[in-house]
């Protein structure tokens, strides 16, 4: 049972309507409250609740890739009995911000982000050095989707 079923209409409304376009005014939660037919306090409380139950990863800015730095999607193929050890080595780098195990020959997929291309490349070389595994470097060449957030179906 996911927490989705326990959310209030206000909490769902925040997720449906405010994954983008948070009002850029001095009291954004009051402006949102007006749109959603609630009070400023209720909106803030709803956001606090969403944060507490883990539904809200964060409330903030999504930056456009490659505008203020460089990032890449990278993958390694780790033997099954080395996944934990290899993941620990990779996660040890503060510039690694996502890392997923996936069911494929390439079974560890992670994002490395840095101030520039050279520093990201250096991290990948360091990971190869410390794991002895070849890293696939798959930087974005073109982005296609219009990022409006994630459409949640509640039913």
């Amino acid at each position: 049972m996911s927490v989705a079923a326990t959310l209030s209409d206000l909490e769902k409304g925040l997720i449906d309507q405010y994954q983008r376009g948070l009002p850029l005014v001095s009291r954004p939660y009051a402006a949102m409250a007006e749109t959603l037919g609630a009070t400023e306090d209720a909106v803030i409380q709803a956001l606090v609740n969403l944060q507490k139950n883990g539904v809200l990863s964060r409330l903030g800015a999504v930056v456009t890739p490659h505008r203020a730095g460089w990032s890449t999607l990278a993958a390694v193929s780790a033997p099954k009995d080395r996944v934990a050890e290899v993941a620990a080595v990779i996660n040890d780098f503060p510039t690694v911000n996502h890392n997923y195990e996936r069911d494929h020959h390439y079974n560890i997929w992670f994002v490395v982000a840095g101030s520039d291309k050279a520093s990201v490349f250096e991290t990948l070389r360091a990971i190869e050095g410390r794991t002895g595994l070849k890293v696939l470097d798959l930087p974005m060449e073109e982005a296609f989707h219009i990022d409006l957030g994630f459409k949640v179906t509640w039913s």
Binding site: L22, V48, G60, V62, P65, W109, A113, V120, P139, F144
Partner: protein, 161 residues
């Protein structure tokens, strides 16, 4: 657009999480020793200039029950990847869609599309729709389901990509 150090500080402060305080931009301004109006003007400029894609609620798919996360990867002609990527990226259930390089012979897939579902079936139905859309243009594809989150933190600008 060029971001200066102040812009970068603001982005870092706002993407780590806007304070849940009635005047969040004022709190950010205080923390950075800036004028609140200046903070909001700079954020507006970065939004308009495209450096910030959006500001808002960033939900955790897993917590909402979308526990099946499929990275679908497709092998399409390089000459047509932009045109085909635009079609796939326009599907409302695709959360991210990118052209990435091949690494032959190790990696043949050049188009990536992320899909999410509450069940494996739901993901597979979405993948079928992408497959129908691409038709013969897709020479091969795979779905790489995530089996474990090994690390997940918000993107920070000093590390931004």
């Amino acid at each position: 657009m060029i971001l200066d150090d102040t812009d970068r500080q603001i982005v870092r402060a706002t993407q780590e999480g806007l304070p849940l305080d009635p005047q969040p931009y004022h709190r950010v301004a205080e923390a950075l020793n800036l004028d609140p109006a200046d903070v909001m003007t700079r954020v507006r400029r970065m939004l308009d200039g495209g450096a910030i894609r959006r500001i808002g609620v960033i939900p955790n798919h897993y917590a909402l029950g979308y526990t099946f996360n499929g990275m679908t990867v497709w092998d399409v002609d390089d000459a047509r990847v932009s045109e085909l990527g635009a079609k796939v990226g326009a599907l409302d259930f695709v959360s991210h869609c990118y052209h990435r390089p091949r690494h032959l012979p190790l990696w043949r897939y050049n188009l990536f599309a992320m899909v999410h579902g509450r069940s494996k079936d739901a993901v597979e139905r979405q993948v079928e729709r992408i497959a129908e859309l691409l038709g013969d243009e897709a020479h091969d594809h795979r779905i790489l389901y995530s089996t474990r989150i090994l690390k997940k933190t918000g993107l920070r600008i000093k590390e931004t990509g």
